[in-house]
Symmetry: C2
Subunit: 199 residues, 2 copies
């Protein structure tokens, strides 16, 4: 591209989005330039508006535009179970199963010394307050089964020990519809270890 | 996602971008929500700014933030050759070859009855004015070799007949580095037809 500062700037901004490389960023910038002025304005406004209106639920740290998120505000949910996840998107994944009726707690990150993220940088203190002040029977650690996810789960489960609450983790194994042939050996080893008697 | 209007709106806006599906759009929206307020503001501003500052070159319709684009303003370029392309991004592709020293003309679209785009909806009239008012020796039709691209090239070449200007098209054939085995048969047929004596 012949250098046009405003265009290069826009491409750069698009490149910052997750999963967007320089080619896609250019395509997106061209789309904006070709679109109606109103389209660009609506787009820019929706970014500012979302940023202004959306905040974290005061209880579970999920995203919401109210004081409480829709799950915490729902009295039919079982408040004695808290499922701890890394990010708001993980809640969507679990909610899609329509199988879980407890509450959530969003950490907004994982402990990761490599990325300079310590226990105080994520919402662990808020979780401890919830567990200490409410009648919580079980905390399900649903962080992803990678190094950071498992380290964070271990760290939190140790902190929860004094509260005499049951701490569980998601089962590891071959995904449904997955193929044994193409599963990695750690997953297969886990699936072997956690094998269940068939009924 | 539990329904948060401002969030859904933002996801919708991201989905309008080329090549962005609903999953990617959600990831992008989560990125905006998780980012600093200043990041979101800079992003939104860059959209508005690009839209305000960037316009079409008064000669070739390429994007520019001045009256003339950098190619039309460059006196070292050969003004007797005009390469006609569909969109500004095509100019980047040709410029990267560092092989072409003429000027361009951007149509900003292709004739496409299916999408209700007629000859008057793209910058054909501007091309005819350029050819009639300047000493143009050759017009290279570099629209993509698909149905719309070829139809548009044919249409324009007919309109250019009265001006006694040479009208050429890009060569069709197997791409360099491409594989004969995986080339489609129309491309192979074209490559056969346009075969050249080896020196």
């Amino acid at each position: 591209m012949q250098y046009i500062p405003a265009f290069s700037k826009l491409v750069e901004e698009f490149e910052k989005l997750p999963g967007v490389g320089s080619k896609s960023a250019q395509k997106m910038a061209y789309y904006i330039i070709a679109a109606d002025k109103s389209v660009a304005k609506t787009f820019a406004d929706s970014i500012i508006e979302a940023k202004q209106k959306i905040k974290c639920c005061s209880v579970c740290q999920n995203l919401t535009d109210k004081e409480l998120c829709s799950i915490c505000a729902n009295e039919k949910r079982d408040a004695s179970v808290i499922c701890v996840v890394e990010k708001p998107g993980d809640i969507d994944a679990i909610e899609r199963t329509r199988d879980y009726n407890g509450l959530y707690h969003v950490l907004h990150g994982l402990i990761s010394p490599m990325s300079d993220v310590g226990p105080d940088d994520i919402k662990i203190a808020e979780l401890l307050v919830r567990v200490s002040e409410n009648d919580v029977k079980e905390v399900i650690m649903a962080t992803s089964p990678n190094v950071e996810g498992q380290a964070t789960a271990m760290y939190i489960s140790k902190l929860l020990k004094p509260f005499e609450v049951k701490v569980t983790g998601l089962a590891l194994g071959i995904p449904v519809g997955g193929s044994l042939e193409y599963s990695d050996s750690i997953t297969i080893a886990q699936a072997m270890e956690n094998r269940k008697e068939l009924e």
